[in-house]
Amino acid sequence: MWPFDAVDWLMLLVPVAYLFIMIGSLTVFLSLYRKRQAAAASSLEPWFPQHLQRNIYLSLLHQEDPKVPDSILKAALLRRATEDIHRIVQIRNAKQALQVLLQRGSVGDDLWKRFERAEKEIEEELRDVVQEANAFAPNWGQSIFQSASEMAQNNHIRECLDEILAKAPKESQWWNSRRAEIQGSFMKELDEEKIRSREGSVAGTGSVVGTPAASVAGSVMGEDAVMVESPSGKKKRKGKK
């Protein structure tokens, strides 16, 4: 038998205690560190605001009394998928720029962490939507994001168009007043010219003045449409101003 009494138990306790203290303090430190990290990560502001469409969809899905019909749920799911498309596009656009900024040290580590979390979340969200879609109709999961991306695009197109076409009334109002202005000044000049030339040839008597002026105005009225059309006429007006 190994001589137990030859071992000095007291002296052996020293390295054992050393090991115990080292390992123990390391574990305590690690667990504290992890906890703090997790707290910091969860207190980071989320990348995206609340997913309203997802909340609506899930609220409707969980409504019991009365049950919401499938058609509304499908519509809500499509809306949710459309919002997801917006988010994916944002994430993709932001990723490269953010990587560059991070490498240069222009942005903090926190931002990158938030971004990575958003990326993970959106992946899960996509998987979830596909599953839900497949539950409604077989194979809808394959096409729901195609439809959703077209919907996002179509919404964008219509917004753009509405914005541009809404300018039409204002523009035409502006042009009408501008045209009237141009016409007015043009006619006035014509009148003045005529009067001047008449004054030059006939030293105008009071009784005659009324009629020719009226006839001049009439003839100008007849012509004015043409005058405004012809670019050269208009240009002269503008040029002389």
Partner: protein
């Protein structure tokens, strides 16, 4: 966004008779807008002709609407050729509305193509009536929908701006257009016109 397994329960209620969803509690603006969009989409979804009631994949397009739009455009063109631009504008407007009423899950590229052509035609019909302001807006919208291969759209807005005497804008616009359509003869000519007009103006002053 919240974690994957939680969500915020929103106070929603459904009207059985009309099949619309509305907020039952206090609602903010965003929620109301979203619900309106949802109800609109739902109404559109009810007319879908698939067995499952889900929108079909975008690619095979329902030919009915395309045919109707094509017809309206043709009759608009015919009116324009007959020298009746006011009627043509009306027909083009109808066609544009119809193209924009396509269900949103149909290909957006198709909508762009159609609407751009129709707007360009409407701009021409407006120009024929000397409605330069309307023409310029239509042509701008047409270009917005389709920038490449839309030399007519570029030219038409440039021409309208020139006719309205907005030389600076016209010059800017045509320059931008030439970046896309550098070889287009009409655009080059228009630029020269604008330049000569500008020079004339300066010498007149």
């Amino acid at each position: 966004m919240e974690a994957a397994d939680t969500f915020t329960l929103l106070p929603l209620q459904m009207d059985d008779a009309t099949g619309t969803v509305s907020a039952s509690g206090p609602a903010n603006n965003a929620l109301n807008t979203e619900l309106a969009a949802l109800n609109a989409l739902h109404r559109g979804l009810l007319n879908v002709e698939t067995s499952t009631g889900t929108p079909p994949p975008p690619v095979p397009v329902n030919p009915k609407r395309s045919a109707q739009i094509g017809k309206l455009r043709e009759s608009g063109n015919a009116e324009f050729r007959k020298g009746n631009p006011a009627a043509a504008v009306k027909l083009y407007t109808l066609a544009i509305d119809m193209a924009l009423q396509r269900p949103h899950w149909e290909p957006s590229g198709l909508v762009r193509e159609e609407v751009s052509g129709l707007l360009s035609n409407r701009a021409q019909a407006n120009m024929a009536q000397q409605n330069w302001a309307e023409g310029s807006v239509d042509a701008e919208a047409s270009v917005e929908m389709k920038r490449v291969g839309n030399a007519k759209g570029w030219w038409r807005r440039g021409k309208c701006l020139l006719e309205m005497g907005r030389l600076d804008e016209a010059e800017q616009w045509v320059k931008q257009g030439l970046e896309f359509e550098a070889t287009e003869q009409d655009l080059v000519q228009l630029r020269d016109q604008i330049e000569s007009r500008r020079n004339g103006q300066i010498s007149a002053v």
